[in-house]
Amino acid sequence: MKILTVEKLSKSFGGIHANRDISFDVEEGSILGVIGPNGAGKSTLFNLITGFTKPDTGKVKFFDKNIFGISPDKISNLGVGRTFQKLKPFADQTLLENVMIGAFVKEKDIKRARDRALEIIDFVDLIEKRHHFAKELSTGQRKRLEMARAMAIDPKLLLMDEVTGGVDQKTIPGLVELVKKLKKTGVTIITIEHNINIIMEISDNVLALDQGKRIAFGEPKEIQNNKQVIDAYLGTFDAA
């Protein structure tokens, strides 16, 4: 079953086409990796799907429901969670409080919300840090915080903007393992990722963007051999 169907989605800011006629779909339970050089329109695509930016034209369907242009709180309420490229933790609150705010979507009772938040914090391996303020956590830990907070709303679809961006090398394998562990829970994942090896390792499908346009969409192997992708993005490896 298709969990997300995007058809000819477009958005321009002034004269710049941030996204132009982008189409793809995502199978429930799979991981879609989104790649592309800086400025390709990856984060814009995320913002259009999650409602943070109003799209100009096109279609976005979550299961059978049209979610084109509706507000972000309504989209998240349907079961679409997200993390942010530029992290947005509730800095002056503890890790537990951060995740509880998400957990309140499913649990009205404060004790049950707390317990649910603790289970998710344990899932992302930060249980010892639960009473630490978000601003005291490292970047890698704050990435886990955002994932935990998004999971707390019990999403069916989770969009993660650069899980491994901005953290040191030693932290990356742990985060990649966490994404794989997340997939096993049954949640569908769309992830923006710069590290091509990680994308090839975790994705079931890959969407490649360049200058706001889709240049390739398919299984990782096809993408790896796609001429346009190599030119736009992977080609940089050859040059190095």
Binding site: G51, F52, H131
Partner: protein, 337 residues
């Protein structure tokens, strides 16, 4: 199962420190007992003003401290409360005990009407807009003949002390208890609010509206809810103040100074903290009252100079307010290293 998780789940949700609870209980009993020791009318007045300003500051704390919207026109709700009780008592003989709720209701309506367009504005623009709305209320009431225009309302005095008319001429003690009870109820309710699901969500809106949106929180609705709650806390203080002085006019109850003072008290005590307004009011109100006594009418603005100095010192050295001198683990939550 994971024992660390089990341990975490077994922790109490709130850190209840028995010593703090007994200190608070002791203080409440002391406040109830104080008038029995024969306080003179100045001290009664001082405490009444502290209670009143603490509640007014708490009102501002709910919108600014909890949900992050700086309102500079909060005096409007104080004035609405004051006029509601006085006008309906004078015109229709309705007891203030009922019209207090009417004042709250009208304030809530205005909070929604102002909130829907204004809370779409972010940051400074909301502050500027509320400042102008606060001033425009004063201008309207100065020219509104039905409510006495610029000369205001002189509340019809009862011949004797009257609980039903909420007027006491022989002693300030009944006023002391009325203000004290409103003060305690307000703080208890706001304390409950800060620990509720709503409290969590308001703090989310304050800390990061975009992240809040990604967690199913309708940010504009929550801002309006906070604004309405805040207005409904402010209005009864206007009502009680009107009953206390029995003469109100636009210059007094719609004064821009009211909007500024609630901000100063909250920032001094600790913004976003339930206890901040009590600490702020306990320090700023005596400064204001004593400077009024020792400097008289001519030195009327001297307290503002003190306020300004204190606020500058606080902002430089203790940006989280005086409450930050008390270790966090005593008041709010424990932190395990």
């Amino acid at each position: 199962m994971d024992s660390r998780l089990e341990f975490a789940k077994s922790e109490p949700i709130w850190n209840t420190n028995n010593r703090v609870i007994s200190i608070i209980a002791g203080l409440i009993i002391l406040l109830f007992a104080l008038p029995l020791f024969g306080m003179n009318s100045f001290y009664l007045h001082l405490f009444i003003m502290i209670f009143m300003h603490a509640v007014m500051a708490q009102s501002w704390n709910v919108i600014a401290g909890f949900s992050g919207q700086i309102s500079l026109g909060h005096g409007a709700f104080f004035g609405i409360g004051a006029y509601a009780t006085s006008f309906f008592y004078m015109e229709y003989g309705i007891t203030p005990w009922i019209s207090i709720f009417f004042g709250m209701f009208v304030s809530a309506i205005f909070a929604v009407l102002i909130g829907i367009p204004m809370l779409r504005l972010s940051g400074h623009y909301f502050a500027i807009a509320t400042l102008l709305i606060g001033i425009s209320f004063q201008v309207v009431f100065q020219r509104w003949d039905l409510v006495g225009a610029a000369s205001g309302l002189w509340v019809t005095m009862t011949p004797e002390d009257s609980w039903s008319a909420l007027q006491f001429h022989s002693s300030k003690v009944p006023y002391y208890y009325v203000f004290l009870i409103f003060f305690l109820i307000t703080f208890f309710l706001v304390w409950l609010l800060s620990r509720s699901k709503l409290g969590y969500r308001l703090r989310a809106v304050r800390d990061d509206p975009q992240a809040a949106l990604s967690l199913c929180i309708n940010v504009s609705n929550y801002k309006i809810i906070a604004y309405v709650i805040s207005a409904m806390i402010m209005a009864p203080m206007g009502s009680l103040f009107a009953q206390y002085i029995l003469i109100i006019d636009p210059d007094r109850v719609f004064n821009i100074e009211i909007s500024i003072i609630v901000l100063l008290i909250t920032v001094l005590g600790g913004i976003g903290n339930v206890w901040g307004p009590i600490i702020g009011a306990s320090i700023l109100v005596p400064i204001s009252e004593y400077s009024r006594i020792y400097l008289g009418g001519t030195g009327g603005a001297v307290d503002l100079i003190f306020y300004g100095l204190i606020l500058m010192i606080i902002c430089i050295f203790r940006p989280n307010g005086l409450i930050s001198f008390i270790p966090k683990d005593i008041l709010e939550r424990k932190k395990q290293r």
